[in-house]
């Protein structure tokens, strides 16, 4: 698909199938993403967009296939990978300040038992400044607006100082100013050589925002540079009608408690 050398590949997904309760929601995905791009994942509701990045981050088990990051297994390169969950996935009424949440981005580097040091606080403050939230440092997180919450999550990710970022719907329910701020920070990050993968909903802004897109609808429809794959024909294939046969088979597997793969001798990777 691309002529990028092996060194440029930050994410390689091979024959990945993911199921919830035995029902496959993603079928046989194969893709590899190059370094330094801002990449959007698009597709209709229930297409498996969030599932794809959750499975890359090891949050949902794979039924088959494998994921390689920087040509390593996830566990060996966790410090280089950052994940930003959907804003609604946490309870914002938790008793924590904005700074507390951003400091969580340092926990991976700190390791068990250790408290955040002054250096960590300075990194956190710096990240808050980048997202324009330094004035809210002491603010209790339940008092933030949706856009501010999203900025705090982005600051937490920045504090991880990773190379590859996965963001789940960062633009859902945020104000226009926040969306602008976030996208300009993401562009800066990719200019510095980081790779950012974003689950996105709004087709209007795809060409403007993303260097690459991944078109997903329960299976990989296409992926590549935006100008090559973001066209009428492929969009039609992504959004035009559900693959009812595919989801019916999935439902059948769930109902019959069917395994996703036949049992076979463990193979070498």
């Amino acid at each position: 698909m691309t002529d990028a050398t092996k060194n440029d590949i930050v994410l390689e997904i091979h024959d990945l199938t993911v199921s919830y309760d035995r029902k496959p929601v993603l079928w046989d995905v194969d893709l590899s993403l190059p370094q330094g791009k801002l990449i959007g994942i698009i597709g209709p509701n229930g297409a498996g967009k969030s599932t794809l990045i959750k499975s890359v981050m090891g949050l949902v088990p794979n039924s088959s296939g494998y994921v390689r990051l920087f040509d390593h297994n996830l566990d060996d390169v966790r410090a280089k990978v950052s994940y930003i969950p959907q804003r609604e996935s946490v309870d914002w009424d938790f008793p924590a300040s904005v700074l507390d949440v951003v400091l969580m981005g340092r926990y991976g580097k700190l390791g068990l038992f250790k408290r955040p040091r002054k250096a960590d606080k300075e990194v956190a403050m710096d990240c808050l400044r980048k997202v324009g939230m330094e004035a809210y440092m002491e603010r209790q997180i339940s008092q933030l607006s949706g856009g501010q919450q999203q900025r705090v999550f982005l600051a937490r990710a920045l504090a991880q100082q990773a190379d590859l970022y996965f963001m789940d719907e960062p633009f859902a329910g945020v104000d226009a100013a926040t969306e602008k701020t976030i996208i300009s920070i993401l562009s800066e990050m990719t200019e510095r050589g980081n790779t950012v993968v974003v689950v996105h909903h709004d087709l209007q802004s795809i060409s403007e925002y993303f260097d690459w897109v991944i078109l997903l609808n329960m299976r990989l429809v296409a992926y590549g540079p935006t100008e090559e794959v973001f066209n009428q024909e492929l969009l039609q294939e992504t959004y035009g009608g559900k693959l009812t046969l595919l989801s019916d088979v999935g439902n059948l597997m769930k109902r019959k408690r069917f395994p996703n793969r036949e049992a076979k001798p463990a193979k070498r990777i």
Partner: protein, 429 residues
């Protein structure tokens, strides 16, 4: 009174044991309970507390002695088993977690009561004091218990202190914790173990039946007072200790009283007070805030009405009667009169033999409300394309909340208009 002095002088070593023991037990369960509360696992704590009973009874039945160490091991095993089964049931079957908790709680507790009855029939229970595990008996704590419970409590404090950062992150955002490579399952395991441990030692003072209250209530009460997790944990520990201390006193002063219910009464009272009194989140604070807003709206409406009356007659300092005001706008008469008095005290009105007059300040304030009302009506019709006959009620509310900053933005956005959608003049200074 003598008992009171005897107790609180702490001269009797027995009293010292009981007090120290109770405080250790209640404060450690309060601290661990904070995370149970933040993880929204209150019911799980309840299930563990009940599931501990068969373990306690079985170890007594097997060994025939009331060595706290032996009893704790038994309690620990069944407490853990219950959690394991709850997880297995909700993970592997169609039964949801709440149903699984309900099932396990009653089954384990039922078995526990059954074995306890067998022990009681054998006549051994009274000597062992095993029945005090049901409702707790702080006064029965002795030196030997204290050593064991002290060690366990210390272990709890230490673990929470060491793993504070991990526990907090796990309670707030488990998925994130997993992605940064924290050993989430192990930490979860430690936290669960701590919960079981807190329950196991706590039941000595509080009893199996009410132990869940000791885990959750201090945390819930503390949450009302603060938004900082460290302060919350400290407060929960203080609330817990206080209830433990009072529970121990009652157990000492009235030996026939079960301690557990008294401890729970005390901690519930603290929670109740927090629920009403806490600044910001408490009910009383909210009610006072609401009534302040109501008065604010009422008074602004009075000034607005006086201004509008004067506007029609072009005489802003005309003296008016209460009935005159009521002819322009409907007020509750009591509210109107108290509002008029308040406005007079604040210097917005003068009263002249029952006639009310605007002062210069009152006129300006009334004028501002009228201006905001008309600006907002214009904004709604121009920018939201709402029909002019639909905008009045909206404007009636919004006029009271707009800040000077928003007022300036509104004026600028609408380019200092002179009339509202109903052709009424918008008054500027």
């Amino acid at each position: 009174m003598d008992t009171f002095l005897d107790f609180f002088s702490f001269s009797d070593p027995n009293v010292r044991y009981v007090v120290l023991g109770s405080i250790l037990l209640t404060s450690s369960s309060s601290i661990v309970g904070c995370f149970t509360f933040l993880k929204k696992k209150a019911l799980v704590g309840d299930a563990v507390a009940h599931a501990v009973l068969p373990g306690v009874c079985l170890s007594f039945l097997l060994t025939g002695e009331k060595n706290p160490f032996v009893l704790i091991i038994g309690a620990f095993i069944t407490g853990w088993l219950s959690l394991f089964i709850i997880d297995a049931i909700s993970g592997r079957s169609k039964i949801k977690e709440d149903t699984a908790i309900g099932l396990i709680l009653s089954v384990f507790f039922g078995i526990g009561i059954l074995i306890l009855t067998v022990i009681q029939k054998s006549g051994a229970a009274t000597q062992t004091g095993l029945d005090s595990f049901l409702f707790g008996k702080a006064a029965s704590l002795v030196g030997q218990d204290l050593i064991v419970f002290g060690i366990v409590a210390l272990l709890l404090f230490l673990s929470v202190w060491l793993l504070f950062k991990e526990f907090s992150l796990l309670s707030f955002d488990e998925a994130f914790a997993q992605t940064i490579g924290l050993p989430v399952r192990s930490i979860e395991l430690v936290l669960t173990t701590l919960t079981v441990m807190a329950v196991v030692i706590g039941i000595q003072a509080v009893g199996v039946v009410l132990m869940a209250a000791m885990l959750i209530t201090p945390a819930a009460a503390a949450r009302f007072w603060t938004d900082k997790i460290k302060v919350m944990i400290a407060l929960a520990a203080i609330f817990g200790s206080l209830s433990g201390l009072i529970g121990a006193y009652i157990s000492y002063a009235a030996p026939s009283m079960p301690t557990g219910p008294w401890i729970v009464v005390v901690i519930s009272t603290i929670a109740f007070i927090s629920f009403f009194m806490a600044p910001g989140k408490g009910i009383i604070y909210r009610m006072r805030n609401q009534s302040r807003i109501k008065k604010h709206i009422n008074d602004e409406n009075i000034l607005k009405t006086l201004y509008q009356l004067s506007e029609e007659e072009k005489n802003f300092y005309e003296a008016r009667t209460v009935d005159g005001i009521l002819s322009k706008r409907k007020f509750d008469k009591g509210n109107l009169e108290s509002g008029l008095r308040r406005l007079k005290n604040e210097g917005f009105l003068n009263n002249d033999n029952g006639f009310w007059k605007l002062t210069l300040e009152g006129k300006e304030k009334g004028q501002r409300i009228v201006k905001l009302h008309r600006l907002w009506e214009l904004y709604l019709t121009e920018y939201l394309k709402i029909a002019p006959d639909h905008v009045h009620d909206d404007a009636d509310t919004i006029e009271h909340i707009l800040t000077p900053e928003l007022e300036a933005r509104l004026e600028k956005l609408l380019d200092y208009p002179t009339v509202d959608p109903h052709e009424s003049e918008i008054p500027y200074r």
